[in-house]
């Protein structure tokens, strides 16, 4: 393996923390990733040396901040291979990006009787905004279920798609099960039916392929904090033609061209969708995270993460009585499990006493839990800095904790 994990781990200061007197084993990366020193330094540098409001200053600091903010847009554009900088809209996160599309696309293109398709694998943030939009626009809300392995039923998607379908929204990777959905295929199917597509890339942009033009996604959303960047910054990519045709999401400063009592005209892309003083430092931190990833070889990262995941699942399967919910055809980053007769909260709480950070619960995917007939799972989720040694500690700890719980 060409990837130098020791060096990567050294870049993330928090990984040397101790929890309850034990070295931190951080396996909650699907919730948020840790930040390399390079990101922390970029944020510090901004506040220490050029903090200023952007796009309106006549002074030196404002020019520096504006340049850094817009250079960050270009860094994001290159990372996802968008055609233009102005196709990159900065948002608070994936949730706001999806809400933006649900509102503005809905206003422009969805009429009563039209249909929107999502999947049963979605995070609530790629489910509820579409339900709300369907209520507002009196459109029909359709849901593609998944099968017993956690794969989407593409045959049902095929049947649901029709000339009334306006948009299909799905996640590239399920945050709850780790299923990697066949994005290119789904997008092709939707386009053949004349529907637009939004890809929720919150769990995928940091782990697997993320070329929006290769995928041919119309909209693509992700969060900075899950790709080793800061919280409070997200990205909406939209094809220029769609974004031009959509009305603004919020009104305020920055998004306007000319305001009079009679009428307001709007600014050009991307500013039309960025009302108010934006999160200035967020994109700068996000760009630092992307630049950090760019210093590594992404194919090697993917191969390494696949290897750790395969090892983790194999080791967990050694534990009798453990049910693993991550069994899709293609699968990344996430290990979701339960032990018969043990509450996931107890398992997670006791793992914490061993210094192991996992998440328990429904993971904001209640439709998945309903379909599986469970209340929740324990979810261990990986990032590029996790190791086989950490997996061994996890498996060992799960066994000890089960013993504590009388199993």
């Amino acid at each position: 393996m060409a990837i130098n994990i020791e060096k990567i781990r050294a870049d993330f200061p928090i990984l040397s923390t101790e929890i309850n007197g034990k070295p931190l084993i951080y396996l909650d990366n699907a919730a948020t990733t840790q930040k390399p020193q390079q990101v922390i330094d970029a944020i510090l540098d901004y506040y220490q040396h050029y903090n200023s409001n952007i796009h309106r200053g006549t002074h030196h600091l404002s020019n520096l901040a504006t340049q850094a903010h817009e250079a960050a847009r270009d860094t994001v554009k290159n990372y996802i291979n968008a055609a233009h900088d102005h196709e990159i809209i900065f948002t608070r996160g994936t949730t706001e990006a999806i809400n933006l599309v649900a509102f503005s696309f809905g206003e422009a293109f969805v009429d009563p009787g039209d249909e929107i398709i999502v999947t049963e694998l979605e995070h609530h943030s790629n489910f509820v905004p579409w339900q709300m939009m369907c209520e507002r626009r009196r459109a029909h809300f359709r849901v593609v279920p998944f099968d017993e392995n956690g794969d989407l039923r593409l045959d049902i998607l095929e049947n649901l798609l029709n000339e009334k379908t306006r948009l299909v929204a799905f996640n590239h990777i399920s945050n709850s099960l780790g299923t990697v959905n066949p994005a290119k295929k789904i997008i092709k199917m939707a386009h053949d039916a004349g529907a637009a597509v939004l890809v929720d890339a919150a769990q995928s942009v940091q782990h697997i392929e993320h070329d929006v033009r290769e995928l041919d996604a119309d909209f693509y959303a992700f969060s900075g904090h899950k790709i080793y960047g800061p919280t409070g910054i997200g990205v909406l990519y939209g094809k220029e033609s769609w974004l031009e045709a959509m009305p603004p999401y919020q009104g305020g400063g920055e998004m306007i061209d000319l305001v009079t009592i009679e009428k307001t005209t709007y600014n050009q892309l991307p500013f039309k969708f960025e009302a108010g003083t934006p999160n200035i430092v967020g994109p700068i931190g996000l760009a630092a995270a992307i630049k950090y990833l760019n210093t590594l070889n992404f194919d090697e990262i993917m191969a390494y993460e696949d290897e750790i995941l395969a090892y983790g699942l194999a080791r967990l399967r050694e534990i009798d009585g453990l049910t693993i919910y991550s069994n899709a055809k293609r699968h990344a980053s996430i290990m979701a499990f339960n032990f018969e007769g043990v509450h996931h909260f107890d398992l997670g709480t006791l793992l914490d006493t061993k210094g192991i950070a996992v998440r328990t619960g429904h993971h904001c995917t209640q439709p998945i839990m309903t379909a599986l007939g469970i209340e929740g799972t324990v979810r261990a989720s990986l990032a590029l800095y996790n190791t086989k040694e950490e997996i061994d500690i996890l498996v060992d700890a799960v066994r000890k904790v089960l013993k504590m719980l009388g199993k």
Partner: protein, 141 residues
């Protein structure tokens, strides 16, 4: 029956003998396992205290100004916490429940360790207990 204050003191002392957190959890689990099972007829939708991750059933009774509680949970740790609450509050005069300072969660460090208390429905349980004590005192139940 010892006072609420005295019982809390006992609990704080019990925990002081267990310096390690895995020992404390093992103790909570043991308390949960030992708790008198909640009769099936009390495991009703009405008695569910909504926590974010675990389900808690709380059955309350009021006899001449004294409150009595029985509880259960699908999480053993939460059940152990419920057992502590039962030990402190069940069988006490409603007026004492209402006037009590709940010290033992802070003093044992349980409040910090169970990071967001909403995840285990603990605060919801305490609110239910206080609300019921209020009704009991006002002779509404």
């Amino acid at each position: 029956m010892d006072s609420i204050q005295a019982i809390q003191k006992d609990i704080i002392e019990d925990f002081s003998f267990l310096p390690e957190w895995d020992e404390r959890y093992a103790y909570l689990i043991e308390l949960g396992q030992k708790m008198e099972p909640l009769p099936e007829k009390f495991r009703t939708e009405e008695n569910i205290v909504r926590g974010c991750q675990s389900t808690v059933w709380l059955h309350s009774e009021c006899n001449g100004g004294t409150v009595h509680f029985k509880a259960d949970s699908d999480s053993l740790i939460v059940k152990g916490l419920a057992a502590l609450l039962m030990r402190v509050f069940s069988g006490q005069p409603a007026v004492d429940v209402l006037n009590a300072d709940l010290l033992f969660f802070e003093e044992t460090g349980l409040n910090k360790h169970l990071s967001s208390q909403r995840t285990n429905g603990l605060m919801a349980m305490i609110e239910e207990i206080r609300a019921f004590a209020k009704k009991c005192q006002a002779e509404e139940v």
